[in-house]
């Protein structure tokens, strides 16, 4: 904890905007620029932007790229049949535990872009390189610390992006959801971590400040990690290190849908272990039916046994406390349970995720 925090290429922008900064995964990052609740609403109602340069973009290229990735990831890149198409996957260890979750874009059969989490980037590089060595695959892996990354999210995000960065307007407007495109050293993906439409932009670090300022000038609101967390929670999106880690399988983390077992001939790291470990828990949503805020690691009592919250916060869009809960398999959405909130049992209702979709409450 004594190493100085790393700085993203946009650090000066955050300080100039008066952001409250925090050390996140070893990086000095903005938590908010005044009010995380206001920033949350900006994303749901217009457009907000996040500096996500602490995450790491990886280029994986080579003639063996596709078979290599089919052997590395729990989701199957063979299902990406059009250039630029992306998917969300977990990367498992041989016990079926989750090493990281990531988005991967297939630009060509021999050319992929991956984006991994900040806190796991070093571990991921070691893991993937080790697997390249073990398999002898003809692939090259390159970490792209030369890039900055900005996520622009919200119903007006794509429109304002095109206005701010007109040289990218045509390419970005043509992108279908969950597709990406590379233009020189710039990369645009129509992906995000908020449940809203939007784009994720990767560009040379030297160009980042100008892009950020251009976006701000069109009215895109700078948003910090606080809003990022309430948005992804409402959208039912897992956070690595909280909702899952190496000690749990994707099946116990609400991520069975990201494990593609259809090709029985496809062997991938962790597949054999998953076959021996069917789900023992389910991950569902929780809405608190009393004043208070849900947080991680709160004990839950149900008719079928005990569980625990994995993530929690206050939902600005619903104006209630919400959480993800790892629960016994028998628990169903609609049930009432009790949560220990700072020593007091409070009533909560189990719901299916997500809590909010396309700006509208689902619960």
């Amino acid at each position: 904890m004594n190493a100085p925090a790393r700085l993203t290429p946009l650090h000066e922008q955050h300080l100039a905007a008066g952001a409250r900064m925090v050390n996140f995964a070893g990086w000095d990052m903005p938590v908010n620029y005044g009010s995380q609740i206001a920033e949350h609403h900006a994303v749901r109602r217009q457009a907000g932007m996040f500096d996500v340069s602490h995450m790491l973009a990886l280029d994986l290229t080579g003639t063996d790229a596709t078979p290599f990735l089919r052997g590395l990831l729990a989701n199957d890149v063979a299902r990406l049949r059009q250039p630029g198409k992306a998917l969300y996957s977990c990367m498992l260890n041989k016990n079926g535990g989750v090493i990281d979750d990531l988005i991967i874009y297939r630009l060509a059969d021999d050319d992929y872009r991956l984006v991994v989490n900040a806190g796991t980037a070093d571990k991921d590089l070691v893991w993937i390189r080790g697997h390249i060595a073990t398999t002898g695959a003809n692939v090259t892996l390159q970490g792209r610390r030369d890039l900055a990354m900005i996520a622009i999210q919200g119903p007006q995000a794509r429109e304002l992006f095109g206005a701010a960065l007109p040289q990218l307007r045509e390419a970005s407007a043509a992108l279908a959801p969950f597709f990406g495109i590379r233009l020189g050293e710039t990369f645009i993906g129509r992906t995000g971590y908020t449940g809203e439409d939007g784009l994720e932009l990767a560009l040379p670090a030297t160009e980042a400040s100008a892009a950020w300022q251009a976006l701000a000038a069109t009215g895109v609101a700078p948003c910090g990690l606080g809003a990022r967390d309430t948005l992804r929670l409402e959208a039912g999106m897992n956070l690595y290190g909280q909702d899952m880690d190496e000690s749990v399988t994707p099946l116990d983390s609400g991520l069975a849908w990201t494990v593609d077992l259809r090709d029985e001939a496809r062997s991938f790291v962790g597949r054999d272990a998953l076959a021996l470990k069917p789900a023992t828990k389910r991950l569902l949503g929780l809405v608190l039916e009393a004043p208070g805020v849900l947080r991680a690691h709160m004990p839950i009592h149900t008719a079928a046994g005990d569980g625990e919250t994995t993530s929690g916060s206050f939902s600005p869009s619903l104006e209630k406390a919400i959480a993800f809960a790892r629960l016994p398999l028998e628990v169903e959405p609609g049930e009432q349970v009790s949560v220990d909130v700072r020593g007091k049992p409070l009533p909560a209702r189990v719901v299916k995720l997500p809590f909010v979709r396309n700006g509208a409450a689902q619960i």
């Binding site: 409250r20 908010n32 009010s35 995380q36 609740i37 606080g226 004043p291 805020v293 916060s313 206050f314």
Partner: protein
């Protein structure tokens, strides 16, 4: 930069205290505290009539980030709490010194002397 009213006293635990003409005390939390907490979403305030001891946790302020206890700066009896603040907890963020939380009738007015003045509190939060 936190603005620190001169007419208030301050506790190390970031409560501000205003002496009223009738000898009662009005209590809230400082601008420094609200900024550290982030967006406030719930307040649990002490019931009228409750007796509190100096330093006793008697209220809870819950922000998106964390729940924090608020401590009685002096011993006495709670004579009022601010239900308007409970209905609009974000007012603590928008103006911490204008948003009172509860009022105490102190057992011993001399206890006020143990609290900091603006300069003392300012020095204590400076880094």
């Amino acid at each position: 930069m936190s603005k620190l009213p001169d007419n208030l006293k301050y506790a190390a635990s970031h409560e501000w205290v205003r002496s009223e003409a009738d000898g009662t005390l009005t209590i809230g939390i400082t601008d420094h505290a609200q900024e550290a907490l982030g967006d406030v979403v719930f307040l649990e305030l002490p019931e009228v009539g409750r007796k509190v001891a100096t330093g006793e946790s008697c209220a809870v302020i819950e922000s998106v980030k964390a729940a924090s206890d608020i401590y009685a700066p002096v011993s006495g009896e709670i004579i009022a709490n601010n239900s308007d603040a409970v209905d609009a907890p974000e007012s603590v963020n928008s103006d911490a010194y204008a948003t009172w939380l509860f009022k105490i009738r102190p057992d011993d007015p001399a206890q006020l002397g143990k609290l900091m003045d603006a300069a003392g509190y300012s020095a204590s939060i400076a880094e």
